[in-house]
């Protein structure tokens, strides 16, 4: 996916607090949340970067408990994307 106007990409790093990692159910929730937005969103873990709207992509990150994930959002609603993801990552500990 191309990132147009990369100077407008916003970035934020989150930590996976779910004990079982970002497994199927939370990963599915994450994709569902992002599907509502127009922005291109990518997630980076270490040197791997995937399309955040792709469940297979997210699963291949194998984001275990404690992993640091950097979200890169680019598009008209990029700020809402980061807001929603902040909510998501802050409440994830309750989702087993």
């Amino acid at each position: 996916m191309d990132f147009f106007g990369s100077d407008f990409v916003i970035e934020q790093t989150f930590t996976v607090l779910n004990k079982m990692g970002l497994h199927a159910r939370p990963a599915a929730m994450l994709v569902r949340i992002l599907q509502k937005f127009e922005s291109h969103v990518r997630i980076r873990k270490d040197d791997q970067e995937v399309d955040a709207k792709s469940i297979m992509g997210i699963l291949t990150l194998t984001a275990e408990f404690g992993s640091k994930l950097t979200v890169l959002a680019d598009g008209a609603d990029e700020h809402q994307v980061i807001e929603s993801l902040t909510d998501f990552f802050n409440t994830q500990v309750h989702e087993e």
């Binding site: 990692g21 199927a24 159910r25 569902r32 469940i55 297979m56 291949t60 275990e64």
Partner: protein
């Protein structure tokens, strides 16, 4: 033509005795290895829409399944299919496959298989077991789309049109449910054990089966000549004519033995010194019904009802249940049938075709199954109980609850049963007011408080598979620990003895309907422990009966006392061997 080929010999686990000689029917395991071809530029658009159509059809199918699960098992479970739908909508499929088709002008099947293979490869390298296992979900979705692309159903056992030996990677109830049993001469499968569905089905049909053959399904081609030797667990592909002759002779000898056993059909299961047992049959599905009386079983000791929930678009109605129960109850008269309320959960959920469901619970064997599921989903339970009660008006029907762990659950089940009785009285629908209500002893806690349970239950039946695996904490399908799955473990023998004693002290009868009941080596112990009833696959009834008829109850009682004192399973095995050699 096949006789010119080198014979190949495979060793597996013998799952059902007998010798089958015949042509192979190979049930294909779908794989994603598909051909690649170039699409002409003018056809690219059509190829893309063909792909989109297949995805849309797959999605429709998944939504139907989701509705089915929602009705059957509730919201939590249904949510899990969401993950499948998300994979389907994944940009890697929805966008990248389309891009691959348009840019490289390749066929949709190939573009799809590349995308799937890429994701699978990435997941395979994960160090975490959980993430590595997710590749099966991705593959599943890939297969489903591929089937729609190819526009055909996978080959199934419904296509079996002539007598054949069935070769498959694995057989599940959903594979065999519509199979014309008269065409199945034997089974040979890559995976499975002595207690797998294949083994149980083959035994009840009285046909040979060898399982655990690793990769035989890849070596056999449709129409190959096969020998399946269920006695030794051997399968020969393309045997020499001499070998076929040898096996034919052996088969004839065995068939003669079988005819001798058939002579016992109308004889009682009684020891040489007059101890009489009830010998009944276990039934998994309607196809096995005809074997009950023809093998000389005195009724049905375990009617499993899970199959009623398989391969259908909606939940079974009260009438669906009633029709089946009535048919069984009437066909075994004057003998009784014991209907076990549904035990879906654990491995059976996977058999239901909803493989992902089991993943909802980190430990499904300790999760929502058996009476627990019934008590949680009252509607499901009531429908079944009402039908069982109504069937009791036309035959000798008893009911039992699976997976009871203590008195509270048994009481809760009975309370709902009493409510159903009250409803039926109001509706003027007849039923047997004195219908016996029992339970399975398969959870160790139930075996430990069996004296309390025996006060309230009319009867008890020991389900050995679960009792053993829960007591010994051994998953019998896990190769690493399967050797610890030991029916003769002193702890198991103690629980069995305790169960029989408690039942008899309360004046109740007690049976066994697990695999252990059909193990001829163990029959002397079960007789000696004073079980009142044994229920085994219909095909095994004559053998168990012959065994009982050759035994002295007094000797068996002495043997039982001796093994109960023994501290190790090795000693128990030795005592048993000595006993057999007498």
């Amino acid at each position: 033509m096949n006789t010119e080929l080198d014979p190949k010999v495979f060793k597996g686990i013998s799952a059902s005795p007998g010798i089958a000689i015949g042509r192979a029917f190979v049930l294909e395991d779908m794989d994603l290895a598909v051909g690649r071809w170039q699409v002409p530029p003018e056809a690219v658009k059509a190829e893309v829409s063909r792909f989109r159509q297949a995805v849309a059809d797959t999605r429709k199918e998944m939504l139907t399944t989701q509705q089915k699960i929602l009705k059957l098992l509730g919201k939590t479970h249904a949510r899990l299919i969401e993950a499948y739908i998300l994979i389907l909508e994944d940009p890697l499929i929805a966008k990248d496959v389309v891009k691959n088709i348009s840019q490289n002008r390749v066929n949709a099947e190939y573009a799809l298989s590349e995308a799937i293979a890429g994701a699978v490869k990435a997941l395979e390298s994960a160090t975490d077991e959980y993430f590595r296992e997710r590749r099966h979900d991705v593959l599943d979705v890939g297969r489903k789309i591929l089937l729609h692309l190819l526009g055909h159903e996978p080959q199934s056992l419904d296509d079996l049109k002539e007598p054949s030996v069935i070769v498959a990677r694995n057989l599940t109830p959903s594979d065999t449910i519509h199979m014309q049993t008269k065409f199945a001469e034997g089974f040979a499968t890559d995976i499975g054990g002595r207690t797998s569905h294949t083994a149980i089905l083959a035994n009840s049909m009285g046909i040979p089966a060898v399982v655990g053959l690793h990769d035989i399904s890849r070596h056999v081609r449709p129409g190959d000549m096969l020998i399946v030797d269920g006695h030794t667990g051997t399968v020969v592909i393309n045997p020499s004519p001499d070998l076929v002759d040898n096996y034919r002779r052996e088969r004839d000898i065995r068939l003669a033995e079988k005819r001798d056993l058939e002579g016992l059909r109308d004889q009682p299961a009684q020891s040489t010194d007059g101890r009489r047992l009830t010998l009944a049959a276990n039934i998994d599905s309607p196809t096995e019904m005809k074997g009950v009386l023809s093998n000389g079983a005195e009724g049905v000791g375990l009617l499993r009802t899970e199959f009623l929930y398989l391969n259908r678009a909606a939940l079974p109605t009260e009438e669906d249940h009633l029709q089946f129960y009535t048919r069984v109850a009437q066909s075994v008269l004057p003998y009784p049938v014991i209907i076990r309320t549904v035990d879906i959960g654990g491995d059976k959920l996977v058999d239901l075709g909803f493989a992902h469901l089991s993943k909802s619970e980190p430990n499904p064997f300790l999760g929502l199954r058996g009476i627990r599921l019934s008590l949680k989903h009252h509607e499901l339970f009531r429908t079944q109980l009402r039908a069982i009660l109504r069937a009791s008006a036309v035959g000798k029907v008893k009911v039992m609850f699976p997976m009871v762990s203590g008195l509270e659950e048994f009481r809760a089940g009975r309370k709902i049963l009493a409510e159903c009785m009250e409803e039926l009285r109001r509706e003027n629908k007849p039923f047997d007011e004195k219908m016996e209500v029992g339970l399975m002893i398969e959870v160790p806690s139930a075996a430990l408080v069996v004296d309390h349970l025996a006060q309230e239950a009319d009867f008890m039946s020991v389900g050995t598979n679960d009792l053993i695996q829960y007591t010994l904490a051994v998953d019998r399908v896990n190769d690493e620990v399967a050797h610890l799955y030991e029916p003769l473990h002193p702890a198991i023998l103690r629980l069995l003895s305790q169960t029989v004693k408690a039942a008899h002290a309360a004046g109740k009868w007690v049976g066994m309907c697990g695999e252990m009941a059909s193990d001829l080596d163990v029959t002397p112990i079960l007789l000696g422990l004073e079980f009142d009833e044994l229920s085994v696959s219909a095909g095994l009834v004559p053998k168990v009966k012959k065994m009982i008829r050759d035994l002295s109850f007094t000797d068996c009682q002495a043997l039982a006392q001796e093994v109960l004192k023994d501290p190790t399973r090795d000693n128990v095995q030795r005592l048993l061997r000595q006993f057999q050699k007498r």
